[in-house]
Amino acid sequence: MRRGQFPPSGSAAAGALRRRRGKMADAVPAARWARAAAALLLGCCGAALASGIQDQAEQFFRSGHTNNWAVLVCTSRFWFNYRHVANTLSVYRSVKRLGIPDSHIVLMLADDMACNPRNPKPATVFSHKNMELNVYGDDVEVDYRSYEVTVENFLRVLTGRIPPSTPRSKRLLSDDRSNILIYMTGHGGNGFLKFQDSEEITNVELADAFEQMWQKRRYNELLFIIDTCQGASMYERFYSPNIMALASSQVGEDSLSHQPDLGIGVHLMDRYTFYVLEFLEEIHPASQTNMNDLFQVCPKSLCVSTPGHRTDLFQRDPQNVLITDFFGSVRKVEITTETISLDRDLAGFESKLPKDELTTEPLKYAEQLPVAQIIHQKPKQKDWHPPGGFILGLWALIIMVFFKTYGIKHMKHIF
């Protein structure tokens, strides 16, 4: 039973709170004043909340986020995985066009396409055949490139357990009012996703990472899109609230690529991402298109695989979720109606705080060769460690051979 809900009107407010008093007679004016005080106090918050209630109805259907983040990951390297890089960069371009700034995008790419010796058009990555659209451009900001794209770094970015020396652009500084878009593409299988041909991330790890994000309230709502073979297996294990997931293919199906370019020699895009991007081209920052339309993108006739989605963990109805809630960045603004008045002729202000006098010591180079230490060195006391693996194994072998040859009755000669 919930008591003490915020009361809608001031006079009823006093009754909604439970008060305990010491030994005080009722007739005392001080008690009356106290009651009036309480009523006034709650009248203040009551009035503020009455107007809040009609806004609440509006807000129930709107997302409560104040900022947007995007984490775009391409998990493959090598020239023949050109299409994965093109996928990720195209999503990056759309997301930037719809308003999310670079400082809020964490882009993880192997980034070995544009300057690959096999690229006939260096410094470009095309996403459409006949080389229509160069998605690499000159303002791509890759945060994790080449061998930095590892499962460990990805999980560190998501959970926030980053070493303190990491620069701000490599961090996901989201808070409880952030909507995050996570897009992953590459080669995958049933329950795992391959990272850079050397390791893999499992769906259980991903689900645990999202749970850690939820526990620390690092997201308000999360949209997870994955374009790999058997992509639906990656979102099977999610159990944290407020996650919506889309995948390009079901378990047992392969996601197929779209079109090869004969000039470049590789496939340029994957089908699912190609049709998602066609869909996103229609979206502009003020559009009201909702998620149900995104679910219809790329039916089986076009995509050959069956795209899937998962919304059971999401609190709002997908009908009410705007595409721009995740792909764009729309801020809440308020008009400033108050000002304060400043005294123009105030004399120069003496700061009351003690200014820290930074004692600057004279700078000098670090000792390149600490000669003094070497000459007058005492032998260092090394801690004794028990013998390590190899020595132990060698001795075990010797002892075993000895006793095998001579039999165990010779032990009494040793001990």
Partner: protein
């Protein structure tokens, strides 16, 4: 013959004993050794204390001194005994936990003498009660709140310290959706420091050569406010000028006022194109507050912001919660059309700073709109905020810090339960202990009414808990699916286990046979 059979039986018995001893050593020594050396290291954590912290039994005490002026107290008032009026409020935080807030009303110590009790310590209040007929307060005003911590009242009130809504706003990330008003999630979160950036945007340097004396303005007008807020957090200020930075929206020309208008619904789209150029990613790890001053191009001057009703906004400014504010500064058109470009513009920093500081107050949640009309507030002047407003901020931040610590630690405990391969090293455990101790001392100080000490303790608690939760070592181990674990251990254990198991099976079979044999033999 019998001797040979006896020796053979002896040998067999010895063989049986050897096999059993192998199996025994493998099970008794080997299995526990393997188990202990492959489990994840977890240093001991105070789970019980964390559980207790999770209940969040807040008790907030405000020491209030009330001074009754002669004539304000009716003659028949018996000497009032000191009493505590406690209001308990339960706020449902989430489905599992309920938060108890007990807000004690002032412990009234009636003092009929006129000596003012000036208790100027953080968090306390002094009220001077004057009679109804007194002329100290102007007509129609029943409360006058000074800029320090005192108030002249005709009736007792509790405006100056905290209200239930401000406290629950501080806990907003724990309360489920829909229970709080729209104000609850827009104030800046409590942080150890803030970075303030003042930017001047000049999209048309060919027409306007804008000069702003920001350093002087910061020293004169901003620094007093930041000094006052220095108790709350560390502030650092920087400034920059950006050329050719345009707003993302094209303003509409309005024929009636012959000016350009930015309507209210296009304002949200203004910020994004500019943000990329602000360079906030190069700043510190603290939250950044951006204050932008936009001087419109000559072709779009004058530019006014329209609110929802279509009226021009007097301040010509808007702000975005948790981000900062933008003000549009119109340059007056020169008298004669034949004037040499670029026009030299000297920005009136006082007007600008009045708006920016007001936006700073709003971003922190210090708004004056919630008070009923019988209240007269003294303007805080150049300090920017009154002492009691600072107290309000500190109350809210302290509660928020303690709630954050509680959430962090309980979620760490829950995670350790759910996910098997998180490592807890010793230094992480010591941070957790420190966080728990600081949080408990913060709650004790809150109950005693010492706001400053409570705030310091809550800051330490937050720092320790964040350091513990976000320590990179917690991500030490990755997950291995069960079939991979089998694949690793079977080649190691199977060759050793097969002979042992087979010999045990043989022993069992022989034992059964021997049990049958005596019945066969006569």
């Amino acid at each position: 013959m019998a001797a040979a059979a006896a020796i053979a039986a002896d040998e067999r018995a010895r063989g049986r004993r050897a096999a059993l001893s192998f199996a025994a050593i493998a099970v008794v020594l080997g299995l526990p050794l393997w188990w202990r050396t492959t489990e994840t290291y977890r240093a001991a954590l105070p789970y019980g204390d964390i559980e207790g912290l999770g209940q969040l039994p807040f008790q907030l005490a405000v020491p209030v001194a009330v001074v009754f002026a002669p004539g304000s107290v009716p003659g028949d008032l018996p000497r009032p005994l000191p009493f505590r009026d406690v209001q308990e409020m339960e706020i449902s935080v989430n489905r599992e936990r309920h938060l108890w807030l007990s807000l004690p009303c002032p412990s009234v110590q009636a003092d009929a003498a006129l000596h003012p009790l000036q208790d100027a310590s953080l968090g306390s209040m002094t009220m001077y009660v004057v009679p109804e007929t007194s002329s100290l307060l102007p007509q129609g005003i029943s409360v006058y709140v000074g800029k320090h911590r005192s108030a002249l009242v005709r009736q007792l009130t509790q405006v100056m310290s905290f209200t239930a809504s401000s406290i629950s706003a501080a806990l907003s990330d724990r309360v489920p959706n829909g229970q709080l008003g729209p104000d609850a999630r827009r104030h800046l979160k409590s942080s150890l420091g803030y970075e303030i950036t003042f930017s001047l945007l000049n999209p048309d340097p060919k027409s306007h050569a804008v000069d702003w004396d920001i350093e002087d303005a910061v020293n004169r007008y901003v620094q007093p406010v930041l000094d006052k807020l220095s108790l709350v957090a560390n502030f650092s200020v920087d400034s920059q000028i950006l050329y050719y930075a345009v707003l993302g929206v094209t303003p509409r020309f309005d024929k009636e006022s012959s000016s350009f208008l930015l309507s209210a619904h296009s304002l949200p789209h203004v910020i994004n194109p500019v943000e990329a150029r602000l360079g906030s990613s190069a700043a510190s790890l603290y939250p950044v507050l951006n204050f932008l001053l936009y001087v419109p191009e000559r072709s779009h001057s004058p530019l006014y912001i329209q609110d929802k009703d279509g009226a021009a906004v007097s301040t010509n400014a808007f702000h975005s919660p948790r981000w900062g504010g933008i003000m549009v500064y119109n340059v007056e058109a020169p008298a004669s059309p034949q004037v040499s470009l670029p026009l030299h513009v000297d920005v009136d920093m006082v007007r600008v700073m009045e708006v920016f500081l007001a936006q700073l107050r709003l971003l922190f949640g210090l708004s004056r709109e919630e008070l009923p009309p019988e209240f007269l507030l003294e303007s805080p002047g150049n300090e920017g905020l009154a002492d009691w407003e600072l107290d309000r901020l500190l109350w809210a931040h302290t509660v928020e810090n303690i709630a954050t610590v509680s959430t962090t630690l309980t979620s760490l405990a829950q995670l350790l339960d759910k996910i098997g391969n998180i490592v807890i090293k010793d230094d992480v455990a010591s941070e957790v202990y420190q966080a728990v101790a600081s949080a408990q001392s913060a709650m004790a100080e809150l109950a005693a009414g010492h706001l400053h000490l409570a705030f310091q303790a809550s800051k330490e608690a937050v720092t320790s808990s964040e350091r513990a939760f976000f320590d990179p070592s917690l991500l030490h181990l990755l997950y291995f699916p069960d079939d991979q674990k089998f694949a690793i251990y079977i080649p190691l254990f199977l060759p050793m286990a097969v002979p042992i198991l087979l010999s045990l099976a043989k022993i069992v079979r022989e034992a059964r046979q021997r049990k049958k044999e005596p019945s066969k033999m006569d």
